[in-house]
Structures are given as C-alpha cells and as structure tokens.
Symmetry: C2
Subunit: 340 residues, 2 copies
C-alpha cells in the first residue's frame, strides 16, 4: 500500500507504516519515497552524536520537550530518529523508546522512531536517510537524528544533518581523546553534558584546545568560543562570527537530567541555522549531504544488482577456492565482480 498521500495529510499511523516499509526496503516504501521526495527539504535536521555514557538520549528528550514548550512562539513539530548501529543482531535501540515515552508520550507533535541495524551498515544508513526524508515530507519542523557511539557509522549518519551536536561528558577516560580528534571535525555545536560532574573544566579546556588545532585561526576569536568556565555559569554563550562567514563551534554546558542549559543549546542550534542561511552555506551543505546520500545509495544499489545477477553457487565456488588457498580473496573479488 502507498501511504504517501496520507503521510502528507499528517496521518501518524500511515507515517509509522511507511517507516516500516522503508526499514524493510520494500518496493511500496521506495515508490512512496519517490513520490514524497518533492515535498522534502523543509525540516532542520539535527544530528546528535557522542560516546556512550554522555547522556545523549536524555539530552535529545530535553531538546524535544523544549521545542514542544518554547519560552516564546508556537510549539514546533519534532521527530526523533534514534539509530543504533552497534547492535547488528538484537534491537538495542528499542529500550531507549520506552524510557522516552514517559515524557513525550501522547504528544501528537512528537514522533519517535528507533532503528537498529539489520545486517549491513550501509543498509542502515540508507534506511535512516529514507526515514528522515519521510519525516521531512510529513511536516516535522525539526528532526533529531541520534546515534550511539562515535565511529565512522555515526559520522556517516551525522552527514545527513544540517547541524551536528557532538556530546561530551566529564570523566569518560582517555580513549575519548582519540575519538574527539575525528569527531570534532563534524561538530557544529559542542555540548558538555553532565556538566555538574567534577572534571568539567578539564573537559572544556581539552575541547577548546582541540578546537584550536582544528581551526588554526580560532585563537583570533577565542573570546567568542567560550569564556574560561565558572562553576556558576553552567553554560557558555554560543559564538559565531557571521561577519567573517566563519563558524567556530560553540561549547555549551548542560545537565540534561535537570533540564539545565537546554535553552542555551537551543539558542546555539538556532544561531547555527541562522549562520547557514546568511552565509549561503546551507545550500552548499545540502548539496554535500545529498552527495553523501547518493553515494551511499549507489553503493547499496550496486551490491543489490550484483546479487540479482550472480547465482549463489558462483560465490560459493569462489569462496571454496579461497579457503583452499588456490586464489586470494582479492583475486576472487575481481573475478566475481566481472558479473556486474
């Protein structure tokens, strides 16, 4: 069944069913997405990533609540897509839903969807892309895309976003440093959650010095990035220099479980969006996002086409020769790829 018309009318049940079609990669889901695609491009997509233990889920909850009950203006329609690439076998993401439902259940302006990998990572990223398109066409103003962990998978999924939040927390161990180096380069806003914990100064200091490594000219704007933290000032003001058309990721402190710093975080996100629009970067980023998306879908399509054309026995035969060490896996891959 094609749920596209009902989705455009705001039917939640139809939307839920379409998302299931998309997750299962059915022809009906594909057809609906093709139909809906012209209606996409309005939502602001916010990626949320960070290592385990940083409290991402609580933060996303609090952000969603904030947008539903804004201090001024109308409530916004918010969708949350929680992606768990770490759980290829069992649905680790499911758990998160239940916890969330307590605060947000019953609110028709909120839509929450958990996705766990069902096989390949590429398949998950492609499905996530489709789910986000459908939610965009469904009229949600903000789409929060949350990923567990901070590996390449998360980086790929973060590329679906306009604004990417990278969440840190004090005292998570030294390995975090290595992750930061890579993940920082995709951050538009840095969040130190659990900012009431000891070590928050150290975390902020190390983030700031990493920011300077990544943005060699950032020292010029040091005052903008963040003031040396006081325990009194739980969050530091987000900074952008639109005059110079350059965005330095602000550092925002939050305590999601207490709802502290959430308004500052929302303000930083709004400033980043503003920056994207005024600098013309939005169109550029949108194109980069579509490029990644197209590359991803192309990869999956190439593999699917190859699979259709190749009898299982052929793969099995090549595998056996590799196992007997007659040919190397690279030689076998070359041979098999001739089919395509």
């Amino acid at each position: 069944m094609n749920f596209a018309p009902q989705v455009l009318q705001g039917n939640r049940l139809a939307l839920a069913r379409l998302l299931t079609q998309i997750e299962n990669n059915t022809p009906a889901g594909r057809a609906a997405l093709d139909e809906l695609y012209g209606q996409t491009g309005r939502a602001h997509r916010i990626g949320v990533t960070g290592a385990p233990g940083t409290g991402k889920s609580s933060l996303v909850n609090q952000l969603a609540l904030h947008y539903r009950r804004p201090p001024q203006g109308d409530p916004l329609r918010v969708a949350v897509v929680a992606v768990d690439p770490s759980s290829p076998f069992t649905g680790g993401a499911i758990l998160g839903d239940r916890v969330r439902m307590r605060d947000l259940a019953g609110d028709p302006g909120v839509f929450i969807r958990s996705m766990a990998s069902r096989g390949s990572l590429g398949g998950l990223a492609a499905a996530t892309s489709g789910v986000v398109q459908a939610l965009d066409a469904g009229g949600f103003d903000l789409i929060l895309i949350e990923t567990v962990g901070a590996g390449q998978a998360e980086v790929d999924i973060a590329r679906l976003a306009h604004t990417t939040l990278v969440i840190e927390a004090p005292g998570l161990g030294d390995d975090i440093q290595a992750i930061k180096a890579g993940i920082l380069e995709i951050a538009d806003v840095l969040v130190i959650n659990k900012a009431d914990r000891p070590g928050v100064e150290n975390t902020e200091r190390s983030l700031r010095s990493m920011l300077q490594l990544g943005h060699p000219t950032a020292h010029v704007f040091q005052n903008h990035i963040s003031k040396p933290g006081h325990e009194a000032a739980l969050s530091t003001p987000p900074a952008a220099d639109d005059g110079l058309q350059m965005w330095i990721p602000p550092i925002v402190r939050t305590v999601a479980t207490e709802g502290l710093g959430i308004a500052d975080l929302a303000a930083a996100i709004a400033q980043h969006r503003q920056h994207l629009q005024s600098s013309g970067e939005l169109a550029q980023r949108e194109l980069a996002r579509l490029r990644s998306e197209l590359e991803l879908l192309l990869r999956e399509t190439l593999v699917a086409r190859w699979r259709e054309r190749t009898p299982d026995e052929q793969f099995g035969g090549a595998l056996e020769r590799v196992a007997r060490r007659e040919i190397s896996p690279w030689q076998a891959a070359d041979e098999l790829a001739q089919n395509c």
Copy 2:
C-alpha cells in the same frame, strides 16, 4: 616493488613497506598479497574490542608482553594491529603507537601497526584484512586486532578474528548496556578490565545475565561461567564444555595497568583456541571469516569498477537533478547503477 619474498624471510623493514602499500591499496601491494596468500592461515587472530575508556590499549600491551615472556615455553611472535575507524579525517591511532613503544620497542618479536580510516569504512576494513594477511604470512604466531569503539565497524573488523575479546570496565554509564546486547554476541571471552574499581560486581552480574539471554541454556553451566565474585579472586576461571561442543564465553577480570589477570586471560584465549580445534569449529569459523572478507572486498571492487566506468559529470548531473528535487536519490542511484 614486490616485498613478498623479503617478508617471507622475516625482513621487518620490507614488512613495514608492504603494509604501507596495502594501506594505500597500490597494485604492488595487491600483487604481493596474492603471492603471500598461500602462506597464510597459521596465525591465531585475536580481536579486541570494547567501548572507549575500558583500557583496551593497556590490555593489548600487557597481553603482548605476556606472550613475549611466557611463564613456560618459548616466546611467541606477536603482531598488534590497532584500528581506529572513529577518525576518518585525522590519524587518531598514531598517538597510541608512541605510548606502546615504551614497553615493547626494540623487541624484534613484536610488530605494531596503527591504522586510521582514510575515507570509507569499507576501505579501512579491506586494508585491515590485507595487513593481517601480510602479518600472518610474515610468521607472527599471534595477531591482536584492536579496534576503538563498539559499532558495526568494529563488529566487521572483529569478524577477521578467531577469538574475540570484548572489554568492559565498571562504571562507564548506562548507554553501555545497549552496546553490550549486540557486541556480546560476537564475544568469545569477556574481560572486565579496571576490575579494581568500584562497581565491578555489578558489571559482572549484568554481563552474566546478558550471557544468559544470549545463551538460553547457559544456566546449566552457570557454575562454569563464573563464581559470584570475591574481591580476593581477581579473575574467574574461564569455562568451556568441550564434551558438549558448546562454548560459553568466560568472564575474566583484569587490571591491565598492574598486569593483574593477564595470565588468566591468556589461558582463556588458549582454551578457546583449543575448543575451536577440538570441536571442528575452527574450519567453520575460518570459512565464515573468509566469506565476510570476500563480501567486503567484493563491495569495494564493485564500487571501484563503477567509478572507473563512470565520468564524474554523470554523477554530478544526477546529483544536480536530485538537488532540484526532479528525481529522488533512489531514482538517481538506480540510473547511475545502470553503468555497471
């Protein structure tokens, strides 16, 4: 230059150069790997994975030291491949090398290689596979493949191993739970590192209950898995029931920074290897590993072939139509894939 003959003679410099060729995916590297492939299959490959903050690197260090100075028997030749998929842009893995060199530098029986992603995750996994093959052909008895994080990337890389260690540590936050569910299914040995920290009992208890979820019959063997922990007994004996041809991942406690529990861990690894051999699972697992490897290389080959055949303008043209929302990304991917 073809370094294969020198690698077979145990020339370290040639090996290092070959690994660079493999990382850069050069034709010379590919040719050398094809040549060396017949000499592979002897090393025991040990995957080491776990969330940031669990102290994986120290543990891998200590294991390598243990194998170099075994309480009995000859020292084994050990290679360490540290893979960092979390750092697609900067080489986060490099740092780890320096720290390691202090303990292991100058020992000709140890070879350490760090690899960071240089673009696609698939490319990194393919390169890692090649590096491990070369080290195997180079005569290393044990190859420790360490990955940062616990996402799908790490699961893919762990599939290259015969024995997979999953590292936990007490007090890393609740998100860990979600990760465990998926990662546990690839664990052959569970390690609770930093076992001198408070909360170790809770960590072991939750690991044990997850094990029971994953192995519904495991309660039968509960005594084998682990005894309720005493602070006095730092590690619990590894368990296997070879008579029933079933392996229940043992839980081993370590404090890598103090060198505690390392011998127990090595014993658990040896038992798992023994189990693989006596149960006939080794051949089966080897075939599963080669299958994953072949699938991975095939994916990369398909994409590379498509790229050779497709002018950049064609991709760019399709992308522009997607950006103007004339066609959906899925339609564009279908069109582009016709080329292959």
